[in-house]
Symmetry: C2
Subunit: 198 residues, 2 copies
């Protein structure tokens, strides 16, 4: 079709999530059309990220410094650790702007189907962190899926001797979520956790 | 949210077609998770493309050589020029593997709404190419849209003195296309162009 440079670019773009072959071609064409304004800056940004971004050795976040800016931020509460499945979840928590403690990225959840066991996740490291004297509470923020909740139960056991409070995110109706669009599991959880209205 | 390198990467990715803010974040996370296997190779492929890819000065195709490989291919019929709106259409024609002539990329179609007039497209260059003695036929392969067909009509006029045959792609039911999924315009065009079955 096109020259080898362009073909190679399309094939690599097609490996990004959400981009199939067709949308990878469209993305490549946009890049080639805007070589100065978009392709060159994106190439530079990727080269920069590939050279500088590291995985934080404390929490597993991505940043250009290690420990990451969150772990190094003295204004953040060291007594609180929020356990998330992946960096995407960490970013989602940060966007909310509501959590002022620190994080621990597990690197996935336990999954019999995908063959992911405790040794495949950063659980030992979490137990070690939670055992530090400054830590008072570990918040388990895994997804409300079967695997997420299995993982949460396993972590409750593993954290039992760490002398920390262990909590989980509340389940219920999302703010702004119309009941009509919610699955039965969410509605059931919201119903079971119903609260008196003063 | 994340460090400035990562933020910058997400913002540039969000400018690709089909990637909103959310999918740009997902793409960035995939890249950061697979720094060696995907981020570094993609950065290199983009740097390579930004340095090497040019717009063919003859036909408007993208390639690392100018004239492009298609224009330079002596096995392709120089008597046939297929006029396409953009390089995406050129690639689509090439994927079919059925056209063995050369191309001319217009760079868009006439559009009153978008303020695109004849001077914004590579029309003079097409007329000059079509005037060459070796050219016998110009195939107009614009989309079957109002703007595409307006452009085709305008090109028929402009090519009137070039001593070339001017043709257009047939309109009709796409191969494998179920009638139920086709718009009325396509069905109408297919009906008007109906052919006797021997
Ligand atoms: Zn960290
Ligand atoms: Zn060319």
């Amino acid at each position: 079709m096109a020259g080898p440079e362009i073909e190679h670019l399309v094939q690599l773009l097609a490996r990004l999530p959400g981009l199939g072959q067709r949308s990878a071609r469209r993305a490549a064409l946009t890049l080639l059309k805007r070589r100065e304004q978009l392709l060159a800056p994106l190439a530079a940004a990727m080269t920069d990220a590939a050279a500088k971004v590291k995985t934080c050795s404390v929490c597993g976040n991505y940043d250009s410094v290690d420990p990451c800016a969150i772990c190094a931020d003295q204004r953040r509460d060291p007594s609180l650790i929020c356990v998330v499945e992946d960096v995407a979840s960490l970013w989602a928590m940060e966007r909310s702007g509501l959590f002022k403690g620190r994080y621990h990225v597990l690197g996935g959840v336990l999954s019999a189907l995908d063959g992911i066991g405790p040794d495949d996740l950063f659980i030992d490291r979490l137990v070690a962190r939670a055992s530090a004297e400054e830590v008072a509470e570990v918040i388990l923020a895994m997804a409300a899926t079967v695997d997420g909740q299995t993982t949460a139960h396993y972590l409750v056991d593993r954290l039992a001797n760490c002398h920390v409070a262990v909590s989980g995110l509340a389940q219920g109706v999302p703010v702004g979520g119309e009941l009509d669009y919610l699955d039965d599991g969410t509605i059931g959880a919201a119903l079971r956790a119903r609260r008196p209205i003063a």
